[in-house]
């Protein structure tokens, strides 16, 4: 029987597991405590019960991958899992752009704050400014509002004309239109300002910018995210080819390595529907089953164009703004370097525990430096794990 290992228990990984599990031995690995990924956090508890043939390993972090096995670390063990087929469904993280004050404890990711509230953070009565870009801001604001937060403002950096054009284009995507209409109803009375971005934060007070001016905004929490960034580290480590920052796949979701597949956000930010479709295709193809067709990417393309970053938000970091949070490296120290290699040697930028997962995309976005090289372990690991 084919041994299929799937990394990630979000929509893509679960769809792949459901498809592959019909005919193969499947193990799904995720570093969270339960299935669902980010979007279904706290809503897919029953999944493992519904698919009894699929083995799951939670709180398990993949620290290394070859073309024949993966090494996983749990809080108290470490093991190697051999596979015939590997499906990478590692999802995406938020893109954070440094600005003065972004290291304050009251500043979190947009999806980040939602995840924290879902896991028990009490937001009742707090004033939460939601900022950055993309439709996620609306979903986050609606969720936080439903949990008792006050949302004084949603600040969207994209220009009004592009956002309006996008809204009109929803007419040709009835499902999305319905989602949008429901969100709008839930956000009744919440100000949504386009052409607006956060310039700086100090405890309790934000400085906001628009093309024509600036203003102040009190806040308890700032939930800010500049869109999603694919988690491609594991694919890179296994030797899969990237193209434009995403994992290159064919129509069957195969990467450049024949027995490794990739599905969902690492192949292109496409949202939950694309992730489900791609996961299903990967799970079927990896196990020799007929593959369903892929939905078209018109909606995804519209999202990318609408919420492209304006030049001003790439330039909000000042000389002494910390860019690498793990090693407290300010922008000025990085700017004087030629590239990643020199920055690492001189400043330790990108060499802390997150291994450049936060500062890497930020620096790529604001300075244009390309991807860093990836080596194992891809996450900090215990010494006994490294000996395995």
């Amino acid at each position: 029987m084919t041994r299929v290992v799937i990394i990630g228990a979000g929509p893509a990984g679960l769809a792949a597991a459901a498809a592959a599990g019909r005919v193969a031995r499947v193990t799904v690995i995720d570093d969270n405590t339960e299935a669902g990924g980010q979007i279904w956090r706290r809503t897919r508890n029953a999944w493992t019960i519904e698919h009894p043939g699929v083995e799951t390993k939670f709180q398990a972090r993949v620290i290394a991958a070859t073309q024949a096995d993966v090494t996983i670390e749990t809080p108290d063990s470490c093991e190697r899992l051999p596979f015939d087929k590997l499906i990478l469904a590692t999802g995406a993280r938020e893109l954070f752009l440094p600005f003065p004050g972004w290291t304050l404890p009251q500043v979190t990711g947009a999806g980040g704050l939602q995840a924290l509230v879902k896991s028990g953070l009490n937001i009742q009565g707090k004033s939460v400014v939601v900022a950055g870009t993309g439709p996620l801001l609306l979903a986050v604001a609606a969720y936080l509002k439903s949990k008792g937060a006050t949302i004084p403002l949603i600040a969207e950096q994209a220009p009004a004309a592009r956002v309006n054009r996008f809204a009109r284009s929803l007419l040709s995507h009835p499902g999305k239109l319905w989602q949008g209409a429901r969100l709008k109803a839930r956000l009744l009375g919440v100000p949504y300002r386009t052409d607006c971005w956060v310039e700086s934060a100090e405890p309790g007070m934000l400085r906001l910018r628009t093309p024509g001016g600036s203003g102040s905004q009190p806040f308890d929490y700032l939930a800010i995210g500049y869109g999603l960034w694919p988690n491609t580290e594991l694919a890179q480590l296994a030797g899969c080819r990237l193209s434009n920052g995403f994992v290159e796949v064919d129509a069957a979701q195969r990467t450049s390595i024949p027995n490794i597949y990739c599905a969902g956000e690492p192949t292109g930010i496409g949202g939950v529907d694309m992730a489900l479709a791609e996961g299903r295709i990967a799970g079927c193809h990896a196990t020799g089953q007929p593959t369903p067709p892929l939905p078209n990417r018109a909606f995804v393309q519209a999202l990318t164009t609408t919420f492209a970053l304006r030049p001003e938000v790439r330039a909000v970091a000042t000389a002494d703004t910390i860019v690498c949070r793990c090693e407290d490296v300010p922008l000025s120290r990085i700017q004087s370097c030629q590239g990643w290699r020199e920055a690492k040697l001189q400043t330790r930028c990108g060499m802390g525990p997150c291994q450049g997962r936060i500062c890497g995309p930020a620096i790529q976005t604001i300075l244009g430096w390309p991807h860093q090289s990836i080596r194992e372990p891809v996450f900090p690991a215990r010494i006994e794990s490294l000996l395995t």
């Binding site: 993280r93 290291t103 404890p105 995840a115 924290l116 896991s119 407290d328 525990p353």
Partner: protein, 80 residues
């Protein structure tokens, strides 16, 4: 009756709902998570195990990502 967990954060006792992450418990208790290498207080940024800003000590084990650990009765949590 709702299920709960009793934990200690920096020596103080807190009762939290079952399923509460250590990160949420620490923030609800009014603490940040760690002190950066230059002495700034830091708290969870990404909420999903990527940024390592939410590291705390749990039962004597340092550098645990508090957003990916659920509270359990008897847990000793320390921020730095």
């Amino acid at each position: 009756m709702p299920q709960t967990a009793d934990v200690r954060i920096n020596g103080k006792e807190f009762t939290v709902a079952e399923g509460t992450s250590v990160a949420a418990a620490v923030l609800n208790a009014g603490y940040s998570m760690r002190t950066s290498i230059h002495g700034e207080p830091r708290a969870a940024l990404c909420g999903m195990g990527i940024c390592y800003e939410c590291r705390v000590t749990i039962d004597g084990c340092q550098h645990r990502k508090s957003c990916q650990v659920l509270c359990a009765t008897g847990m000793e949590i320390e921020t730095t």
